[in-house]
Amino acid sequence: MGNVFVLAEHRQGALRDITLEMLALAPGLAKDFGGEVEVLLLGSGVDALAEKLSGYGVKVLVVDDPLLADYNSDKYQKVLSALIDQRKPSLVMVGHTAQGVDMAPALAVEKDLPFVADVIDLKLEEGVLKATRQLYSGKVNATIAFKPADTYLVTVREAAFEAPDPSAAGSIEKIDSPLKEDLDYRKFVEYIEAEVGDVDITQSEVLVAIGRGLREDKNLPIIEELANTIKADLCGSRAAVDAGWLPHDRQVGTSGKSVKPKLYIALGISGAFQHVAGIKGAKTVVAVNKDPEAPIFAHADYAIVDDLLKIVPKLTEKLKELKG
């Protein structure tokens, strides 16, 4: 009792950021619950990852089992279910990721746990666990209180917390796998890497968008370099497509495509109603335009009033530097 489980997420041999981000939150909560942080590492041949995790001053519980060689939500659920029974943690933290959302709600149902998804904050207030999560694409926050229970379950939003630096050496404990046999109802087949080449901008996570402000196609290389630096796909306004700078399938707006990237960098786009209708789903919008009255600024989170040709080269240079 009192311990906080953090489910380590890893894929293709590497830890995913969310694991460490949860370690920013877990120690404080463990202290409040009167226990310690236990990181659950499930996999096969994961000693190196266990080693790395233990460097964050936590206890790492390793379930090393050939049956866990590939991620499988149902197997994870079975292991977690058994460990919850055995060790009775107060809180189980799982990443709100493609892995986490495929497993946690089923675990909540199976173990009848109070569950809140996609939390951006979690606190124990006078014995009551309270979560903060967002609704309506972040326009509204909700405070949700958990009814008293022995074990609570949350999924934690990615990038909501900053990963701590490695600290003291922790410990590693190997535990027997509760899995007895392979599952017949869900089998991992393979990973397929995203195809490069044919880009579907409606699925892009980061988009660099150009408009008339680019002026001429000889300026395209500086935009492409920026896009390459931040692994963004290129798209643009009708004007940019008309000018032949981009193919038609890269057009954003009412007569083009609706996009929903995490980041949309609008360069030299004035922001006509017909264009901004296509970026409603963008989470963060950066706008660079030399016209301070450009309507795009009403839709931006970050704004630079200037000529994009003066901004972009330096921006790329600095981004390269910061990203090492």
């Binding site: 909540a108 309270k130 921006l315």
Partner: protein, 262 residues
Amino acid sequence: MKTFVCIKYVPDTSEAEVKVNPDGTSVDSSRFSFDINDADNYAVEESVLIKEAHGGSVTIVSIGPKESEVMIRMALAKGADNAVRVEDSRIAAYDPLMVARTLAGVIKGQEFDLVLTGCMASDDGQMATGVALAELLGVSHAAMVKKLEILDGKVKAHRELEGGLMEVVELSLPAVITIQTGINEPRYAPIRGIREAQKKELKVVNLDDLGIAADQVDVSASKIVLEKLYIPEVVSKAEIIEGEPDEKAEKLASILVKGGLV
């Protein structure tokens, strides 16, 4: 293939100002437009594509108000066969597990091969209902599916992971699949089709009709309490980055990197 598709009627708040009602736990939706949840629209299309390719039937299930029948009729016009709309104010709609329990109550006891839902609702964004529903129905599942292949007695589901990587899994049927947007291109439901679909069955039920005890899905059954909703403080909408061109570029670069945006 006998398929159930669970869909939700949601407000479009992408451009609207959202205000919390005086009760502190609901929002003023009088100025919103409502429509089928985006991912659910893809789920409807996928179910119709499966029916067109493999035969069978499609049943739409939705918990929502009378106004949501427009959305249901559109799904029927696209090719679904019948629909069940649950309307009951006792359901603790803020808790996806209570919603899943209600949906399970509609589906349980009937034969099915597939249950499709959208992978996320655009209003509360929990991404939980479908996977919880699978557990309640005792069947296999896969979430965030971007490609679905129907095989003999099983399906191959391509789950979209971060960065566009696909995890391909094979599931035995029956199964619950939560559908990611972009899996297909939802068709248009022409008005003549919607009129035609008026003939299809749309059953309206409440918890009593479903034989679900209210205390299994209401706020007393929920293990969480929605305490309050509030508008997070935003430091003016756009942050204007000032300075000489080079300074501005440098400031922006560090905002993007520090904010984890790139």
